[in-house]
Every structure is written in structure tokens, then in C-alpha cells.
């Protein structure tokens, strides 16, 4: 018998058979998330308004996120050992744990909640408020990703993890927020220590000592995970873990090629769904994401052939750092103002901007560290500028929107320097835009629109000169 959630799940790419097979799990998940018939109606209208549901690939992609959500919410009932890691951090160790035992469920729960409770159900705020009431108070410049994680756990929406992989390698607030999980629930943690900064001009070279140190930290974390979870890291875990992620990355490379078209065939709202999935799921989400990408890439090839895009042909092309993880309205605003966004910083890693790994390493930790080092994210400001500069040529950009979160040290600190150097190096305008990419409660929509609209007009005028 048809249930109140069928239409929404169908809109999000679930086949009827999948809904029927998973009824018990869907119902249990929705109950835990306090989602009822009214929420489905709101979500239906929200998804139709802000996601490009004319593309089956996008619908399937939303479905992939929902499947990841179901597995996350029910991981304890499924008898899994649960491991959480933070975003943006090092996905590799999580992938290896996941590949070593089917009894382990590995997730970046904050990202999963943002992309489902935010992007689909538009009901993230109560979770953030729960995070604020439990150790991450409002007004303390706390990242709302961590508020989502803590809030989800304390509300009982997502399970308490058995183990947490904490890394301050990119984000130094993440490991502190993970401390709260330990403080509240006694969850054992492994800290992956590292340093993200390098000398100006070093990148794309990097010191082997950095790989060795970070690799050593990852190896220690994996050893601790083995002890806590009672599993053994399989000798072929890295290769096995790469089976899915390599395939997904392969599609992302094809997608970047398609985004070179004018007009761009896909909205940055959907780009964000894709790039985030690649860094947030080690399980069903990524496997379903591969299926979605297969469909999506074909659909986009058709669009490119037919000259169909999400903005007008000749629209100014800008690269953004990151789309909004929980609120598609914010990202959509760029296109509403007439800007085409062919690339994000993370997606750039898959389209010729990333450099090749260097050296040969044998331990799992060093292999992961070496791979991570090839992305500019794990270096200093100058390396990131190199990324943007390279992308400008590859994607024929007219400008950059360098968003920064006031509460994010790595991003906010470099924002203004980045604008100056990028403008000098590329001659392209840069809009330095304060926007919380994880929480839409903290910005003024009107002020944001004024800035983006002015920048868009500026670029249009420059282009038509």
C-alpha cells in the first residue's frame, strides 16, 4: 500500500521495488528523524524548486544521499561497528576500514545530515539547535557542521559511534568537537595529527617528511581502529577501497570535461551534491552515486550536444570554493544572478588541477598521505592560489567567488590575501564573500544578493566591453 513517503522517495530516484523492499527501514529512519507526512510535502516542493529534477541522474543522486542516510540512522540496528570521521578531512582511513570488514559502517554524519535534512527536507535547524544546546553554543563561532554532528547524536537521530577518526589536518575545530562525543559518550578516538602549511612556492613539490609523518599518524589511527573495532585491516584494503571511489572519480573527471561547455549543463547545486558525496560516503551512498553518475553523465552529454544549459550562453563563468551543503537556495543564487559555475575547488581536484602523486610508499598511511598531498587543500595559501589559477585556464573563467566562513580558520584567514593575489596573478575579479556554507541562519539573504548581483553585473560589463 502506498505510504506518505512514496512520492518523495520516488522523486529522489527510488524505484518502486526499492521502496517496497526497504519499507521497514525507511519508516524506521523517518521515525527517528521525526519526519512525518507534512515534512514529505514540504520536502517535495523544496526539492522540485531547488534541484534539477528534470535530470534522472540528479534524482538518483538525491536517492544516493537518502540511502546513505538510512544506513547511517540504522547502523546500530544493522549490527554495525560505527566509525565517524570529519569533513573536510582524510577520507582514506575510513575507506580502508570500510573495505576491511562488512561489519563496519563508516560515515561523515554531519555531511549526510546536511545533504538530506537540509538539502532535501529543509529541516536541519532543530538539529543545529540541539548541537548549540550541547557544547557548541551560538555566538561562539562554532562550525555548524560540528553542531549537526553533535545535535544529530544527542537527539538520537544518528547513533553514538563506536570509534571516531579525528583529524585537525585541515580543520582544527573538528577534532575538538569530536572530543565532545568522547566526553558525552566515552567514544574512543584516534587523532590524526598533521600540518597543512607549506612554504610559498613549494607546491606542487612537497617534503617526503610530511608524507612520512602524516602517514605514520594514519597508520597509528588504523592500528587503534583495529584494536577498538576488533577487525584486521585487509592487505588489499586500499586497492579494494579504490574500486568504488576510483569509478566515482572517473565520472567526476568526465563531468568536469562536460562543464567546460558553454552554457554549462549542470547547476552548481548539483555539483555540490556530487563532490560532497565523494568525500562523505564509504558505503552505499558512493555505490549508488556511481549509478547516478552513469545516468547523469549521459544526460549531460545530451544537453551539451543540444546546447542546453542552466544559464545563458556566454554567461560569465566563475569558480566557487564550495557550494552550500545544506541550503540549495544560497548556491542557486549565483545562477539566478546570471553567473555560470563550471567548477568548485574540490571538483577541480578531478579535472586536471590536481598534481600527480610523488614517490613510492608501502604502508597504508603513507599511501593515503601521499595521495592527499597532491591536492592543494593540504598546503598553504599559495598552493590554493595555484589551483585557482590553473582552473582559470582550464575552465575559461571570468572571475572567482571566494567564499569564506567567518568561523573557519583555514578559509577565513586566507580570504582577503587570496583575493589580492588571485587578482594580481590572473587579472580576473574576485568576490570575497562571507557566507557560512553549512548554515543558512547566519547571513542576510538581501545583502548576499546585492553582492552577488553587483559582481555578476561587473563581470557582464567587463565581458561585453
Amino acid at each position: 500500500m502506498k505510504q506518505y513517503y512514496d512520492d518523495l522517495f520516488s522523486l529522489c530516484g527510488f524505484e518502486d521495488e526499492e521502496i517496497n523492499n526497504e519499507r521497514f527501514r525507511i519508516k524506521a529512519t523517518l521515525e527517528k528523524l521525526e519526519l512525518g507526512p507534512e515534512d514529505m510535502e514540504r520536502a517535495d516542493s523544496w526539492v522540485r524548486q531547488y534541484h534539477d529534477v528534470s535530470l534522472m541522474g540528479v534524482r538518483k543522486l538525491l536517492g544516493a544521499w537518502l540511502k546513505e542516510l538510512i544506513d547511517l540512522v540504522l547502523a546500530k540496528e544493522d549490527g554495525k561497528k560505527i566509525v565517524y570521521y570529519g569533513f573536510p578531512a582524510i577520507l582514506g582511513p575510513g575507506l580502508m576500514l570500510s573495505a576491511s570488514s562488512d561489519k563496519v559502517f563508516v560515515s561523515a554524519p554531519d555531511m549526510v545530515l546536511d545533504h538530506t535534512m537540509g538539502q532535501i527536507f529543509n529541516k536541519l535547524t532543530p538539529i543545529l539547535e540541539a548541537g548549540e544546546a550541547n557544547g557548541l553554543p551560538p555566538g561562539h563561532a562554532m562550525c555548524s557542521l560540528w553542531q549537526a554532528k553533535i545535535g544529530g547524536v544527542v537527539k538520537g537521530m544518528i547513533p553514538v559511534p563506536d570509534f571516531a577518526l579525528a583529524s585537525s589536518y585541515y580543520c582544527d575545530m573538528g577534532s575538538k568537537a569530536d572530543d565532545l562525543v568522547t566526553a558525552f559518550y566515552g567514544t574512543p578516538m584516534a587523532y590524526i595529527d598533521g600540518i597543512m602549511d607549506s612554504h610559498w612556492g613549494d607546491f606542487p613539490d612537497f617534503l617526503p617528511e610530511r608524507v612520512e609523518y602524516l602517514g605514520g599518524q594514519i597508520n597509528q589511527a588504523l592500528k587503534k581502529a583495529e584494536d577498538v573495532l576488533g577487525i584486521k585491516i585487509a592487505p588489499d584494503a586500499w586497492e579494494k577501497s579504490q574500486e568504488n571511489s576510483k569509478q566515482f572519480r572517473g565520472y567526476l573527471v568526465r563531468l568536469v570535461e562536460l562543464m567546460k561547455a558553454d552554457p554549462v549543463p549542470l547547476s552548481v547545486v548539483e555539483l555540490e551534491l556530487l563532490e560532497a558525496l565523494s568525500g562523505s560516503s564509504a558505503g552505499r551512498g558512493i555505490r549508488e552515486g556511481i549509478k547516478a553518475m552513469e545516468i547523469l553523465v549521459k544526460e549531460l552529454e545530451e544537453r551539451v550536444k543540444a546546447g542546453i544549459g542552466v544559464t545563458e550562453k556566454g554567461a560569465p563563468r566563475v569558480m566557487v570554493r564550495l557550494g552550500h551543503t545544506s541550503d540549495p537556495r544560497v548556491t542557486r543564487l549565483l545562477e539566478d544572478c546570471g553567473l555560470a559555475v563550471p567548477l568548485t575547488f574540490i571538483l577541480g581536484s578531478f579535472g586536471g588541477v590536481r598534481v600527480e602523486p610523488k614517490g613510492t610508499y608501502n604502508t597504508p598511511g603513507e599511501i593515503i598521505a601521499n595521495y592527499e598531498m597532491t591536492g592543494g587543500y593540504y598546503h598553504g595559501t599559495e598552493a590554493q592560489i595555484q589551483f585557482y589559477e590553473k582552473a582559470a585556464g582550464i575552465m575559461r573563467l571570468d572571475g572567482f567567488v571566494a567564499q569564506y566562513l567567518y568561523n573557519c580558520r583555514p578559509v577565513a584567514t586566507i580570504s582577503h590575501a587570496q583575493k589580492k593575489y588571485l587578482e594580481e596573478k590572473t587579472g580576473l575579479p574576485v568576490l570575497s564573500l562571507e557566507i557560512d556554507n553549512f548554515d543558512s541562519r547566519t547571513h542576510s539573504a538581501d545583502s548576499l544578493r546585492t553582492k552577488v548581483e553587483t559582481f555578476a553585473e561587473m563581470l557582464k560589463a567587463k565581458k561585453h566591453k
Binding site: 567567518y406 582577503h416 583575493k419 589580492k420 575579479p429 570575497s432 562571507e434 547566519t442 547571513h443 538581501d446 545583502s447 546585492t450 553582492k451 548581483e453 553587483t454 553585473e457 561587473m458 560589463a461
Partner: protein, 261 residues
């Protein structure tokens, strides 16, 4: 050719009527609760000021700007206040290359080219320090009738107090404490101006402040703020006549380019 520009800001509504590139009428009034009523009223007053017995429908083209620009049903086009201030300032002072606009809710720094086009800009984010609202809050606690009236008092001071809080609410507390310590009113008022000017200077630090620099927006009517901005930027700021209507004027100029197309 008869056109209009309507600027519905956070605090005030402004309208300018332009006839063949000449300002023939303008009006300024508080926005109040309903932006649509404010737009209608300010338009009516501007038409009256222009001695025109016609309605807005009779004009050739209308452009709206300001935060409520999308809500003005009788406007044929919208433009951001940043673009409008650039156009308006350039019209009034053709040598304009840099603009500081301090409005009710936000402040902006704008670089413009020789044709009045925006080539770079920055605008405050969350922080209200450096905005008209900040000045109004301070005027209220220092018992000065209006934000504009604080300017001449600030200029009397030789020893401005240091107001270091970057938050309007905390700065208010700081001023209250300094007042209780017996600091002179003129020094407190000067301190408020200095704090606001330094916030604007910090915000604009990534931009090139080249002459001629122009100061627009409602706060530009405050002579003290002009002086404190000049101290921070180490350059002279020109203030056009009626600096508060520069956004509406820019909107009217844009309207003029679209009329008859």
C-alpha cells in the same frame, strides 16, 4: 524624457525624477513598516517636488534599487545599490574613482572607472559598526537629536575616546561605561566617529582609494564622519549635494539609458 529612480533602503526611501539628465525633483522619507507604501509615498513627493501633476505610470522608465528593490511593482528594472551609487556619484562628480557609501544598514567601498562603472567593491558582512544604524544607536545614548547633529560636536574634540568593541551592542556598553567614568560628551562622540571610520577603513583595505574619493549615503550628511574618514584614508572626500539620494539618482540614470529602448 522623464524617468525615475527609487531607492528603498533599510531606514529611508528616496526618489529622484530626472528630465533629460537633469534632476527636477527628489524626496526622502522614512521607510516605515510597509516598503510598498513608502515607495508610493516617496514617489508622489518627488513628483510634487518636480511640480508634476502626473502619476508614476506616466514616466518613461523607472528603476528601483535598495534592499527592497524587488518589491517595487511599478519599477521596470532593478539594479543593486552599489551599481547605482557608482552611477550617481559619477554623474555628480565625474572625476569620481572611489566611493564610500554609508547607509542605514550597510556600508560599501566602491572603485569606479572613468565612466562610472563598478570595477571592484566591498560591503560589510555581519558587522553593523560603520553603518548609519551604529551612529543612530550612539546618538540615542549620547542624547543627540540625530546622527547628523553629532558631526559638529565630534569636530570640537581634541581627544576622542577609544571605542574598541567591534560589535554595535558591545560598543554601546563601552560608551555607557565611559560616560559613567565622566568622559566629556564631545570626546565620546568623536570616539564613536573614529570607531566607525576605522571599521570602514578596515573593510575597504583591499581596494584602491584613488582621487577623487566621494562620500555618499545618509551618513555623508554628518560632517564629523567626513573628517574622520579623511583621517583614516588620508585623502579628501568630496560630498555631493544631497548625498542621501545618490543611489536613487543612479537608478534614475540607469532608467534613462533604458527608456525608449
Amino acid at each position: 524624457m522623464l524617468v525615475a529612480g527609487i531607492d528603498i533602503g533599510a531606514a529611508t526611501a528616496k526618489a529622484v525624477i530626472l528630465k533629460d539628465s537633469r534632476i527636477i525633483g527628489h524626496a526622502v522619507r522614512p521607510v516605515g513598516y510597509d516598503v510598498k507604501i513608502a515607495a508610493n509615498e516617496v514617489s508622489r513627493e518627488a513628483l510634487q517636488d518636480a511640480n508634476l501633476s502626473i502619476s508614476m505610470d506616466d514616466l518613461d522608465f523607472i528603476v528601483s534599487t535598495g534592499y527592497a528593490r524587488e518589491s517595487i511593482g511599478f519599477a521596470q528594472k532593478t539594479a543593486t545599490e552599489i551599481i547605482c551609487h557608482a552611477k550617481g556619484a559619477h554623474f555628480m562628480i565625474p572625476t569620481t574613482r572611489f566611493i564610500i557609501d554609508m547607509g542605514g544598514q550597510d556600508s560599501k567601498a566602491i572603485e569606479v572607472d572613468s565612466e562610472g562603472n563598478v570595477i571592484n567593491f566591498t560591503m560589510n558582512d555581519k558587522c553593523a559598526a560603520g553603518t548609519g544604524r551604529f551612529m543612530e544607536v550612539m546618538a540615542h545614548i549620547l542624547q543627540v537629536e540625530s546622527m547628523t547633529d553629532m558631526g559638529p560636536i565630534a569636530l570640537e574634540s581634541n581627544d576622542p575616546c577609544r571605542i574598541s568593541s567591534t560589535c554595535t551592542v558591545f560598543a554601546e556598553t563601552e560608551v555607557v561605561v565611559l560616560r559613567a567614568e565622566g568622559k566629556e560628551r564631545k570626546d565620546l562622540i568623536a570616539g564613536v566617529h573614529k570607531a566607525a571610520a576605522s571599521r570602514v577603513f578596515a573593510m575597504a583595505s583591499g581596494l584602491k582609494c584613488e582621487p577623487d574619493a566621494v562620500f555618499t549615503g545618509g551618513v555623508a550628511k554628518n560632517t564629523g564622519m567626513k573628517k574622520f574618514l579623511e583621517n583614516e584614508f588620508k585623502t579628501e572626500f568630496l560630498v555631493p549635494d544631497e548625498p542621501q539620494i545618490i543611489g536613487a539618482l543612479g537608478a534614475a540614470l540607469i532608467a534613462q539609458t533604458h527608456a525608449g529602448k
